[in-house]
């Protein structure tokens, strides 16, 4: 399901002295099945924009249509079934007596049988990796991670075609972050969902999204493939953001090793690139390094003899010196 946004504007409290224009003339085409990240500093209008996607807010200017149908009050119910929105820190919205009821809450407006509801609830729980034994427990008795998963399950239960996530990794430790991103990635691939992820964590966006839209002061500042957007550090910083952390390290290294390709997005890519260049350098100097099972160079042993003033002519020694001294 695709979303078409045309010159969307939104002004809060229009006509009152508290009027505030939050979004200006946003035009975007969000294709079905793609993974789109929406980035921007706090206050740039990200949350306001995504609240238009499921009709929570209506545009004060311009239009938005989902799958060809314009968003209006008549098709809100259907729209909210098809566009699943997981808000920030969703574990704070749990309220039912049992996990079953909590997950089934999303189906309360639908005219379906009890067996169908049961099936869907169980399916949703399975999709988030939770077992059926918690169906009877109180949502408040679960751990934080489980609560978040239950909250996500309660959105997945309506089998949406578009999944909108607002800061899915907020408040999680690095492992939790990795787990939830992997889960979202797997889910999107499995069900062919259109994924829209709002985040101001550049590393998360780099990992997950094919396309990134950067908002700045309520307008689209950048829009393109992830690698291109994160390649233009100047524009990113003008919009109040930074590139994924690893890029800054690679840029610094590139100043000393011109052959390095610094347009990496993740630590994995950096490792591969560094390995490649290291291999190249080693071949130039004719020394050997261990290669791992994939044939990649793994500089496990550090050749200390290269360090020191005796090897000032050797281009590699400059690199080692600097690395040690900094």
């Amino acid at each position: 399901m695709s979303i078409s946004i045309e010159k969307l504007s939104h002004t809060f409290s229009q006509g009152t002295p508290f009027e505030k224009a939050v979004l200006h003339d946003i035009t975007l085409e969000l294709d079905a099945g793609s993974r789109i990240g929406i980035a921007g500093r706090s206050g740039s209008g990200k949350t306001t924009l995504i609240q238009h996607l499921n009709g929570l807010l209506r545009p004060t200017g311009g239009a938005i249509s989902v799958n060809g149908l314009e968003v209006s009050s008549r098709n809100l119910k259907e729209l909210r079934r098809r566009v699943g929105m997981v808000s920030q820190q969703p574990e704070q919205q749990l309220f039912e007596e049992t996990v079953f009821k909590e997950v089934a809450f999303g189906l309360s407006g639908c005219a379906i049988t009890a067996t169908e509801t049961d099936m869907r609830v169980r399916g949703a729980l399975k999709a988030v990796g939770l077992g059926e034994e918690i169906l009877g427990s109180s949502p408040f008795a679960l751990s934080c991670g489980q609560k978040r998963r239950v909250a996500i399950a309660s959105v997945l239960v309506t089998e949406p075609e578009i999944l909108v996530m607002d800061e899915p990794t907020a408040g999680l430790d690095p492992r939790g972050r990795r787990e939830i991103l992997d889960f979202i990635s797997g889910l999107q691939r499995e069900r062919g969902l259109t994924l829209i992820m709002v985040s101001h964590n550049m590393d998360d966006l780099a990992r997950l999204c094919d396309r990134v839209v950067v908002l700045s002061n309520g307008a689209v500042a950048m829009d393109g493939k992830t690698r291109e957007v994160f390649g233009d550090i100047g524009a990113l910083e003008r919009a109040g953001l930074k590139a994924p952390q690893i890029r800054y390290l690679m840029m610094e290294l590139k100043r000393r090793i011109p052959e390095l390709d610094d347009t990496v997005l993740t630590v994995e890519e950096a490792r591969v690139e560094l390995g490649r260049v290291w291999g190249m350098k080693r071949e130039e100097t004719g020394s050997h390094d261990e290669r791992d099972d994939h044939g990649e160079v793994f500089p496990r042993r550090f050749d200390y003899s290269q360090i020191g003033s005796e090897n000032k002519d050797n281009p590699d020694s400059d690199l080692y010196d600097r690395c040690i001294s900094c």
Binding site: L76, Q92, Q93, F105, G109
Partner: protein, 202 residues
């Protein structure tokens, strides 16, 4: 003037009621004006003035004094109640914390309403029972959030050495100033004049 808005309709209603439904000496023999009596006008004017005064004084208070100063003043006034074991300081602290959290809770309520509406668009339909049940998805998380906030706040206050009223001093020390004395004097003069005027009529 903004503060007078709430009373406007009440004042209008009072005027109409008093003008047309108070019996007494009529203004003219015939026509519509015969339904209006002198006493009616009298009462109507008095009522309107009272309402206007009430509203303006209340507005003046809220426009010139911050909620925190009001609470401080309230606490000072209630101090004598300490002797009969009324927890004055705790009450004042509760009021100021509640005031401080109103905007935060409003914001959270908005967030929760939006989140629940995204899950199930059925939050405004049905009969009275249905509508009452529709409050649960909002009230429960709100309460849970409030308890969580309260817990965090208590820990934070304890970490900053708050132990209740024992040995507690304040940064601001509101005291009597010339302004207070002058306004008190003006009020006394005003009241006496009013009473004398009322008395003189009879």
């Amino acid at each position: 003037m903004r503060g007078l808005k709430p009373v406007f309709f009440l004042a209008l209603f009072a005027v109409v009621m008093n003008l047309f439904f108070v019996s007494g000496t009529p203004l003219t023999e015939h026509g519509i004006l015969s339904h209006i009596s002198r006493e009616g006008i009298d009462l109507a004017l008095k009522m309107v003035l009272r309402l206007l005064l009430l509203a303006s004084v209340a507005s003046l208070l809220t426009f010139t004094t911050t909620p925190l100063s009001l609470t401080d003043g309230l606490e000072r006034l209630m101090k004598p109640l300490n002797r009969i074991k009324v927890p004055v300081h705790e009450i004042a602290m509760m009021i100021s914390i509640a005031l401080r959290f109103i905007p935060a809770i409003l914001k959270e309520a908005d967030r929760i309403i939006k989140a629940q509406a995204s899950r199930s668009a059925d939050l405004d339909g049905g009969n009275a029972l249905q509508r009452a049940r529709n409050f649960m998805p909002i009230i429960l998380p709100l309460f849970a959030g409030a308890f969580r906030r309260g817990d965090d706040l208590a820990t934070a206050m304890e970490a900053r050495c708050y132990r209740g009223n024992r040995g507690r001093t304040s940064m601001r020390r509101p005291g009597f100033s010339l302004a207070d004395l002058t306004s008190a004097a003006v009020m006394v003069v005003f009241l006496t004049t009013l009473m004398l005027v009322e008395h003189a009529r009879y």
